[in-house]
Amino acid sequence: MSVVADSAALPADSTDMVSVRAVHKVFGHGHDAVHVLKGVDLDVARGEVTVILGPSGSGKSTLLRCINELEEITGGTVVVGGDLMGYRQDAKGTLHRLHPKAVAKQRSRIGMVFQRFHLFPHMTALENVMEAPVQVRGLSKKAAKQRALELIERVGLSDRMDHYPAQLSGGQQQRVAIARALAMDPELMLFDEPTSALDPELVGEVLSVMQDLARSGMTMIVVTHEIGFAREVADHVVFMDDGVIVESGPPAEVLDTPKEERTRNFLSHVL
């Protein structure tokens, strides 16, 4: 409860794209309740790439899903681009749940890429990328198509744009999924283990698209097990375990000279 009261102590630093404060997430009720996030604080500056590492079950995917409201947080605050996610705070500090339409609008500014791609199987690659701009933004089909063609070229799939997802390799599907998220011109991109479902030889093509994206100045939060990517691309590395952030800092610090025993232990297993 004190967590909610803390939220009055907003607003976030204006240079921060994302500001997560004391976030708790509990799934279920009573005896079945599972406390997945136990007070997480995370700041991501505009244009910065943050990589979240951690063993499975540490809550890193849940944290990502809480940032774009796919999961409703149990306590704390999530602020993206200066907007409190999911709630409106009145003058007395009372929180009011936002209408689903308003939540949808908040989400539309955040792109998300999933481990299992989740492309729409009944639409071609091009139609997948055009879908949200037309249906959410009300863009004309022509304008959406033009933009979609640019994005599909950017991820190197111009020759595959008329294929259905089932006819694409995993790496190609994930690149289409990235283009689909970019089509909404997001301020922030979330990647939830984007290469974990890929065959080893296909990981590189997806990582290189993400690296280009980072270079272009996109703010990104990436949950991954690719330590090499973290070392090369990340501005910040965050190590999570058991629902809390154990350690965070520049990649050289966290990956090469970790202070915490748990971080060292984890890294010795993945490296």
Binding site: S108, L119, V136, Y164
Partner: protein, 326 residues
Amino acid sequence: MGDVTTQTNASGSDPVPNRIHARPVPRPGRLVAAAVVLVLAAMAANALITNDNFRWDVVWLYLRDVVVIRGVTWTLVLTFASMAIAVVLAVTLAMMRRSDNPVMRWVSWLWIWFFRGTPIYTQLIFWGLLGVLYPRLSLGIPFGPEFFTFRTEDVITAFWAALLGLAFNESAYLAEIVRAGLTSVDPGQTEAAKALGMKDGKIMRRVVLPQAMRVIVPPTGNETISMLKTTSLVVAVPLTLELTYGTSAIGNRIFLPVPLLVVAALWYLLITSILMVGQHYLEQYYGRGFGTATGRRGRGKGPGGKQAAIAAAGTVQEDVNREVTP
């Protein structure tokens, strides 16, 4: 096949130099079984064609009778109109079943429970009795004032009673089919659409329903075929214009009931055959992108779960004759 192999061998261009030319396993049982079945089929055909009791001349004559053709038309009107109403109701009921609102869930459950739990024949009788049970229908506030009032028999004619009776009953079955279809869609699809900022209604229309259709269409085609014959029960209302009643009335009048039953059976068979072709094309359309054998473009693994996996595995043949008509 053998010809091709020898040809390529002769020209020395067979990419498999040591191609195996083995004798197949002898299976005398297959020939015997085929012979037995063919003889039985011939006997059945013979029994049908040569039996004078069927009076094929009468069958042929009445197959094109005006009353019969009119009966076919009414049967088709009842089938398609009631299915159309039932589909709209079923989608609504299925959405209500998934609603956050417990009242919606309950009402939907109650509707399905009632219309699935009572015989269609009984329901149709009650629809016919509506004018007797409720001579006046009115629109107003329960226990309060009435705004419009009309005589039931002016509004609910025998046709409408039959149509609504068939549609309401069918909607209960279809609702379960739609619900199964909606739950068959990977929840990741809804999440991906949500993450793009799509609203619930759009997600349903653009993402979930088109994928659910793959699961919904085959059993709905089956239900349509079933409905075609269920229309013969509207005599309970009574509505006496459709095919079964029309033909049996003629049969009774000319004292030749059997050939007229055959006439009706042949018409039902013909319409069912046409429906099966239509269903084939519908399934092809909604199977696109899913790697079903009949998909418009290509095959492969879709995220569609069981159906797609079954199709990709190729263990189940997908063809027009797959549906079994009850």
